[in-house]
Symmetry: C2
Subunit: 204 residues, 2 copies
Amino acid sequence: MTMSNDAVRNGVDTGVLFATLDAIKQQPDLARFQFRASNVWLSGAHNRSTIRQFYGAGQEDATRTVDFKLEAGEPAVLLGKDTGPNPAEALLHALAACLTTSLVYVAAARRVPLTRVESTLEGDMDVRGALGISDAYRNGFERVRVNFHIEGEAPAERLQELVNRAQQRSAVFDMVSHGVPVTVTASVAQPSNGVTTAHDRAGG
Amino acid sequence: MTMSNDAVRNGVDTGVLFATLDAIKQQPDLARFQFRASNVWLSGAHNRSTIRQFYGAGQEDATRTVDFKLEAGEPAVLLGKDTGPNPAEALLHALAACLTTSLVYVAAARRVPLTRVESTLEGDMDVRGALGISDAYRNGFERVRVNFHIEGEAPAERLQELVNRAQQRSAVFDMVSHGVPVTVTASVAQPSNGVTTAHDRAGG
């Protein structure tokens, strides 16, 4: 079997993919990434994240030319004005996007041409938790269901394997399934005097 | 102390907020919500989620008049064309948005007028995990740091308490910190014949 590493498959340049894997194997520091977001509250449930800078492959990225902006909101029944998807819905997007990208990359590496990848996600929540009414309910989803529909030029078993492998490799699936340590710090101030107290601020 | 329940504080109608809490206490079924997203792969790391329908407060929502669309992508160094924030960045947005909304709602309920809520988030990742190079690294972030800057008309201690309470009540903070059971199923088909096999599809 001859490797045609320069083939673009499923929109992924597999030549670059395999070269990237080789480069990281030889210089593991290239694998260190830091992703970032900044968020500004606007009013009520309306806030907005700006995403652009990240560190990776040994340097601060300089290739992104625009900020990505993501709006958040809540529907009226949850006291908002529907200014954007709510945060729990945004998490479903992150999960769908990551599983899909992982699946497409794995398919590209395995030479499986895909023609369709769609998914629907559902998360069940009893808002008595998040609203502070009852400690018997967690704040977040009790469970999340993801259902893919995948079409590609490979036997059904091979297409199903892509789904399994995507779960084994997806960053967001890992985080949502297993959790991540999150540290929250804050500086606070009164608006009138502008004095900031760096109370509980993390070092570095 | 007289409650002025009809006051709009921090953009939150606290009259509606307290009425909502009372309604749920009397009729707990109103607390059952289901949030949803659907995602379509476009090419490579580019995929798009559509968010609109949800179930809550005893019925399918009919108030949202437009679909929310969220684009995903990867930067070139991760083999994409920068068509949107990457999924891990989208997760940071979800986390920032949820903590912020929780904090603002808690402040409204506690009669703390806020003038500024901003946050920056960082997540550290060694992509040897997600790229399948080494099992010594997890796929997702090793840790996430959130730093808030909050200004409001209350003593520093009270503003710090809002940060603590937001963590105790945020749906996405709960999910990202502790994880959620995620079930992934798939139907697959070959593009030529269109036959779908409901392999491993979940019931219901």
